[in-house]
Symmetry: C2
Amino acid sequence: MNTHLPKTRIQRRNSQAILNAALDMFSAHGFRGATLDQIAKAAGLSKPNLLYYFPSKEAIHATLLSGLMDTWLDPLRRLDPNGNPVAEIVGYVRLKLEMARAYPRESRLFANEIIHGAPRIHDEIVGPLKTLVDEKAELIRNWVEAGRIAPVDPHHLIFSIWATTQHYADFDVQIRGILNPEGSQHFDAAAEFLETLYTRTLTPR
Amino acid sequence: MNTHLPKTRIQRRNSQAILNAALDMFSAHGFRGATLDQIAKAAGLSKPNLLYYFPSKEAIHATLLSGLMDTWLDPLRRLDPNGNPVAEIVGYVRLKLEMARAYPRESRLFANEIIHGAPRIHDEIVGPLKTLVDEKAELIRNWVEAGRIAPVDPHHLIFSIWATTQHYADFDVQIRGILNPEGSQHFDAAAEFLETLYTRTLTPR
DNA sequence: AAATTGTTTGACCAAACGGTCAGGATCACG
DNA sequence: CGTGATCCTGACCGTTTGGTCAAACAATTT
């Protein structure tokens, strides 16, 4: 492609500017809703110049998505079989929520793709993602069987963590409309709530 | 407008066909991603004929969205101050999940709108929605103070219910890719998990 | 300074899009 | 049957969009 191993200084700078502007636009308006002119303008380039760095709109989107996948799944990968089960899972929740706070654009880009049927990352989902999730679900199942956490369906537990944490990024407008928060303070209350939610659910009694 | 009180039989039938086809397209591809030609074709009409029933693409979308809002919030409205607190909330969860199963297109339409900043329903959010949510949050707060449910942040409790239930509609593709379910059986397991999640969280001890 | 390589642009294009319009077909009803 | 209202369509239009291209400009190397 065009973007791995950017050689010159200018290439690195412009590719980065394009990807950043594209992330803004794609996450705010969706793939179809974002235009090359918008992206180019936001990146401070002309449209032909933008297309000098990426062969197509599709290519920019693909670069963003594939670059995102790894980062996005990393917290789950780090769920440690040797740690304290409840602490591990609650820690995972906290990490995911911090990512929703720090990288809402990425979360929305991802959400958009999935809502629309994941046409460009379907293989990633039924492949590596499923493998990883199944592996971690198995780990959780073992914790349940060992009586170290209260019984729960591991897959649905993971889904609920994704849902509750990413919700704060994806539905940001709705939450702000209701809470009227200043800045992102409400994330602290969210963190506390989610910690309570999962601690009570998972602590064996 | 054009669509309230459709007079003739043909008007009723075609308006309905258009809205149904539009719901398909908008929920699958977003507002910008859906085209009038697609919608018209899916509704079995020509594009000019479609525009005989609705003045614009925007109008179709607005009709869908406003028609949806009421239905979507109804379950929350029915949270009963006189019922058993835990049962009321768990019942609300169950209802929302059933809606996600029965009306995934509506859920996605809504999700799409919010993700993209709710440009067309922002007033609804900071107005009626906020009012309703604040009112129900107050109810939950009272339950907490009366010791009838364990202490939780009411707003974030509601958010988590929205997130976990709608997730099964909005992220359907991802969930199917991971679980490989037949039909929508996995909704039963989801219902059981969520019931456990909220029962353990809310039951006072 | 010349030559090579890398970067940027204005002008342009074909396709797709939302929407219009004049007129033709069909229906309901006296 | 006739006639007015409703319903439907092909042809068309202006704009936007993703993308191309030849040529100009800048940087680097020799």
